[in-house]
């Protein structure tokens, strides 16, 4: 991967982020949807949870809301390329397919992380949980969990670009694959949120699991992205 490869990667990520910076469409829609999902869960679980389960519930709700609404970010960032056949222009450009994949991955991940930080504050307030007790670990888990989700999401979202059923299918295809990421991220987050947790060894374990999963998923994504989009 040469200097020009990373230049293309950053160009593509920068393009998506600049478009988003002007319209803020994904940030607002995803952010609002995610906040509503958190509210729905807190209403649905309000009588069922005892206080001791608060950290586990808070962590689960945070990540469930992130995953459900992350498909919004994936769909919109890739959907923009359908307008005026921009995807064809992108594929005809000198940018390597792998650089396109990484650029999209970076853009989607950054958008999702921005929303997750706000969500963490909301979750902390609704579930009375100290979400920022371990900020460095939390940042690491948010980053790795988001990368794990987005690394597969970009591939499938790109493949579904011209499909009529893309909105229905994206979640159906994506969620079985990202459940291990959800599991690890929510377990790590629950341990961090729990003030009674004796140490952070479980967090370290799940972070290592997430890192390994991300390496595998991103490697696979880099490998299959080109044949998947080559038919566009």
């Amino acid at each position: 991967m040469t200097g020009s490869f990373w230049r293309y990667t950053l160009l593509i990520a920068g393009k998506d982020l600049r478009i988003e910076g002007k319209s803020r469409e994904v940030l607002y829609t995803m952010g609002f949807s995610a906040a509503l999902v958190v509210l729905v869960f807190s209403f649905a679980l309000s009588n069922a949870t005892d206080p001791a389960q608060g950290p586990i519930t808070a962590a689960g709700v945070l990540w469930a809301a992130t995953l459900f609404t992350g498909t919004v970010a994936l769909a919109r960032v890739l959907d923009r390329e359908r307008e005026n056949e921009a995807i064809r222009a992108l594929l005809l450009s000198p940018a390597p397919r792998a650089a396109i994949y990484l650029g999209k991955l970076i853009a989607v991940s950054l958008l999702m992380i921005a929303v997750e930080v706000v969500l963490a504050v909301i979750v902390g307030g609704l579930f009375s949980t100290g979400v920022f007790a371990h900020p460095v670990w939390l940042a690491l888990v948010l980053l790795l969990g988001t990368l794990g989700f987005a690394s597969t999401g970009v591939v499938f979202s790109a493949a579904l670009l011209r499909s009529r059923s893309r909105d229905a299918l994206l979640g159906a295809l994506l969620f079985p694959i990202v459940i291990p990421v959800l599991l690890a991220a929510s377990r790590a987050t629950a341990c961090m949120f729990d003030p009674l947790s004796p140490d952070l060894e479980p967090v370290a374990f799940w972070v290592r699991f997430l890192a390994a999963t991300d390496v595998i998923y991103i490697s696979l994504g880099l490998w299959v992205f080109e044949p998947v989009v080559s038919g566009e």
Partner: protein, 234 residues
């Protein structure tokens, strides 16, 4: 270049022979299972093992074959690879259902609950869900359905080692992978015979499903030739 189909009569004969061999193997397996000693704790319930484990093995085999066919399709444009992948995915869904039905029935008797969110059960369920997603993608994925499903199959293949090794790396109520090697002789024979019968069944079903896909591909080929011939005539 149009492919020359083999004789339907020859295919029917082969299929009949294969079905006959499969039935015979299952008959022998059932007799062996009936003769196998009862497990001292679970008793008769333990004999679900002779169906459950082969189905789990075939779930993993189907996923592996699906992934292999998908690689051939994605990176070498192999249409045959794509047909093999689809056929294997459907069989994976079928045998996965058998695992997810037989397992909880056994679990209820052995553990007192139908389901536990432990590593082996969870990863097996995820693997089955990925194969279901593959079939859905093929049916409803639109123009890029085959490429989409093929990439999904590669992600599903990552789950295979997780399913197999999960009981070693995580605390689990599920029996370990070493159970088979510790079976007493009477049980061991029944198990391997049952595994052989199921595997032969898999190959027979795979062959039948593949022949349907090949026939459909042949029909499409002939339709294209017919259209070209009509265009040339006009």
């Amino acid at each position: 270049m149009p492919t020359t189909p083999s004789s339907p009569a020859r295919n029917s004969t082969r299929l009949l022979v294969a079905c006959g061999v499969t039935c015979l193997l299952f008959l022998l397996a059932c007799l062996a299972i009936a003769e196998a000693p009862l497990e001292k704790v679970m008793g008769m319930v333990q004999k679900i093992f002779y169906f459950h484990v082969p189905c789990a093995w075939l779930l993993m085999l189907s996923t592996l074959v699906c992934a292999g066919g998908s690689v051939a399709y994605l990176f070498r444009g192999s249409e045959r690879g794509d047909r093999i992948a689809l056929s294997a995915a459907e069989l994976g869904v079928l045998f996965g259902m058998c695992v997810l039905v037989s397992g909880p029935l056994w679990a209820k008797a052995a553990w007192g609950v139908y389901w536990q969110w432990e590593a082996r059960l969870t990863s097996s369920l995820l693997l089955w869900l990925m194969l279901v997603a593959y079939v859905l993608a093929r049916r409803y994925g639109g123009a890029a359905a085959r490429r989409l499903a093929a990439s999904l199959a590669l992600f599903a293949a990552i789950d295979i080692p997780l399913v197999y090794f999960s009981v070693r790396f995580f605390r689990s109520i599920h029996p370990q992978t070493t159970v088979v090697s510790t079976l007493v002789p009477g049980m061991r024979g029944a198990f391997w015979l049952s595994l052989l019968a199921f595997t032969v069944l898999w190959f027979v079903l795979m062959s039948v499903r593949l022949s349907v896909e090949n026939a459909q591909a042949r029909i499409v080929e002939l339709e294209v030739l017919l259209d070209q011939a009509e265009e040339n005539k006009s």
